[in-house]
């Protein structure tokens, strides 16, 4: 067990267990989630829908309503401070200022009754104490930065006057307006069509390079991960299953779940129309299987898998995996070339 926060990390989540009330009783939906993000890194968080990706990152900013949610265990370190013990007032100084977040649904994430300018300047004036005029100037600069043409006039637009891609750009501009150190992007392109998706991904990559941003990029799409991430956290049923550098993950995935996700990826030269699918579904929080949570769907499962839950262990060079059989997977890969 690690005791203190790793200096390497800008933000480190340790043993985070978040619960929701089901039938009046708190049931953990994420269990002992631990991962960290380094400065200037784009960290991918992948996993099927319902894996606990959003719950984990919303816990970081303490955005989950309580009740029904509660954090049963864990620490979240940011600059050596445990965010979970901060007062609400102090937390407000971090949200949107040091750590920003953008969401999956650009169509509904902006307030429909206020102009984009109003919503961006609101953040700027809140955290940076600029005057209205200065804030408007800055907001226009931000819109320009995220590639919105005619920024001054766009400030006067209401969200419904913009397309989904434009709204997501506005969200990004708003999120970056106070020069945060960390941007959490929760499936920011899932609701957008592929061309726009590619533009937004390119934009995020450029911003990382130009302003040295760290990005936590949540997606259920490994193709997106391959495109922008430096390191990847694979989550399943509320647990971290694998953490690896992008190269290692794609060349030598050690968890059967990661393998399954990769086989499910569409390939350009793929002949058949059929996509591979991992059989079964993510189990509900109240109906978790015994032992390893992936065991009922796992082609490698043996008896031991249903008896105990494997630990997240270092399989070498910081490549973390939660599986009893990862050596076997590694060997198979070597044999198959």
């Amino acid at each position: 067990m690690k005791q203190e926060t790793n200096q390497e990390y800008l933000l480190e989540i340790k043993d985070l267990t978040t619960a929701f009330l089901f039938d009046g009783k708190p049931v953990p939906v994420t269990v002992n989630v631990s991962y960290g993000i380094k400065k200037g890194e784009i960290l991918g968080i992948v996993g099927e829908s319902g894996s606990g990706k959003s719950v984990t990152v919303k816990s970081v900013l303490r955005l989950l309503p309580s009740p029904p949610s509660s954090i049963l265990n864990g620490e979240i370190y940011f600059h050596g401070q445990n965010l979970l013990t901060l007062k609400e007032k102090e937390m407000q100084k971090i949200r949107g200022n040091k750590i920003s977040m953008i969401f999956q649904e650009p169509m509904t994430s902006l307030n429909p009754v206020y102009t984009c300018g109003n919503q961006i300047t609101e953040t700027i004036m809140l955290h940076q104490h600029l005057s209205k005029e200065e804030a408007l100037k800055k907001a226009a600069r931000m819109l320009d930065l995220v590639g919105i043409p005619a920024p001054e006039s766009r400030l006067k637009s209401y969200p419904h006057q913009l397309s989904g891609g434009m709204r997501q750009r506005v969200m990004i501009a708003m999120a970056l307006s106070c020069e945060p150190e960390l941007l959490i992007a929760d499936e920011p392109t899932t609701a957008l069509d592929p061309t726009i998706q590619a533009q937004i991904i390119t934009l995020i990559k450029e911003l990382r390079d130009s302003i040295g941003l760290s990005v936590m990029y949540i997606t259920h799409d490994l193709a997106v991960v391959a495109e922008i991430c430096d390191r990847v956290v694979v989550m399943y049923a509320g647990m971290v299953m694998e953490i690896a550098e992008i190269r290692d993950l794609f060349h030598a995935p050690l968890h059967p779940y990661t393998q399954g996700l990769m086989q499910a990826m569409p390939r350009i030269n793929q002949q058949s129309e059929m996509l591979y699918n991992i059989p079964g579904m993510v189990p509900h929080a109240t109906q978790m299987p015994t032992g390893c949570r992936f065991q009922p769907r796992c082609p490698y499962a043996t008896e031991v898998c249903s008896q105990a839950c494997p630990e997240l262990v270092d399989a070498g060079d910081g490549h973390m995996v939660r599986c009893f059989h990862y050596e076997k997977l590694r060997k198979e890969r070597v044999q198959n070339g």
Partner: protein
């Protein structure tokens, strides 16, 4: 925006026209006319003479046109019973009803909206349960019965407030208010309860929206999230409810004015119907209809001010 408002105001005219036709037709198909009100112990010749005198023997369309053109000139005709111009009576009675309804609306809104917000923000806590139960009781309790209970408690048992009568606002504000507060509360309770429930549900729905999470994620304090980001969105259905309930408020005023013997338009309508004083009934109902239409137009205009999406679609 100004253009849109002008258009909305102009749109009131066809509605008023429609109301006048419906009202006139209704009065036509009612059995008997004003002459029936004279009773059975007058001679047939007298009835005949009465009909001619008041133009009741003319064809319906002529009477309708006369009625409308006179109204447009501000002439509502004369009462069949007293023979006095109706407009004079309206001038006296109308302020009473207006004060009663406005007062109950103000009291209701000032209490209901904050109560509904509190209830939603503190969902499933004691304040929420209390508010919800009170609102539930408030919705079901009939205004006239509440009025009578209040009279029983505050006038007869405790002797704090006069049970009936009316003093003009211009005469004495305090005397006026001590007589108006009970009727206003009796009339406004149902209204307030409905608005409270609507505010609660509108707020709960709004607080669940993605942009509320965005607002929190920006670091805004709860105060701003609620009073800026949630309120303006939640107000859209709340304003609609207030608009729809206003019509009911006027209906309720009829009863409340009778309970508290206030000389308002509502009581006047009831009396005139009983006396079959048709010109008065029609004039008063037209006035009430006019007010309800004005309020609905106001609500429409307010909607446009609150929600840019509405004003956009109206531009086309």
């Amino acid at each position: 925006m100004a253009k849109k408002i002008v258009r909305k105001v102009l749109l009131m005219l066809p509605v008023l026209f429609l109301v006048s036709i419906i009202l006139f037709t209704l009065m036509e198909v009612l059995p008997g006319d004003a002459a029936y009100g004279l009773g059975s112990d007058v001679s047939d010749e007298y009835i005949q003479q009465f009909r001619e005198e008041h133009g009741l023997d003319k064809p319906a369309y002529v009477r309708y046109l006369d009625w409308v053109t006179n109204m447009l000139k501000g002439d509502f005709g004369v009462s069949l019973i007293s023979g006095l111009p109706i407009i004079d009576r309206i001038k006296v009675r109308f302020p009473v009803t207006l004060e009663l309804t406005l007062l109950s609306m103000i009291v209701a809104v000032v209490i209901a909206i904050p109560a509904g917000i509190l209830s939603a923000v503190k969902r499933n806590t004691l304040p929420d349960y209390l508010t919800s139960v009170l609102a539930m009781v408030g919705v079901t309790i009939p205004p006239f019965w509440l009025g009578m209970l209040m009279v029983l408690l505050f006038s007869i048992t405790l002797g704090w407030l006069p049970a009936s009568g009316y003093v003009e606002l211009t005469e004495s504000v305090s005397e006026n208010l001590t007589r108006m507060i009970m009727p206003a509360l009796a009339l406004g309770t149902q209204f307030a309860a409905t608005v409270t429930r609507q505010t609660r549900s509108a707020f709960l729905e709004t607080l669940d929206q993605d942009y509320i999470v965005t607002a929190k994620a920006k670091g805004l304090p709860q105060r701003v999230v609620i009073w800026k980001h949630a309120l303006r969105n939640a107000l859209i259905p709340i304003v609609t409810t207030i608009g729809m309930q206003t019509g009911r408020l006027f209906g309720g005023a009829v009863v409340i004015e009778t309970v508290f013997t206030l000389p308002g338009i509502g009581r006047e309508i009831v009396n005139s119907i009983l006396l079959r004083d048709y010109p008065v009934v029609m004039a008063l109902i037209m006035i009430v209809a006019f007010i309800v239409i004005v309020i609905n137009t106001l609500i429409d205009i307010i909607h446009g001010l609150i929600d840019p999406r509405i004003s956009q679609s109206q531009q086309r």
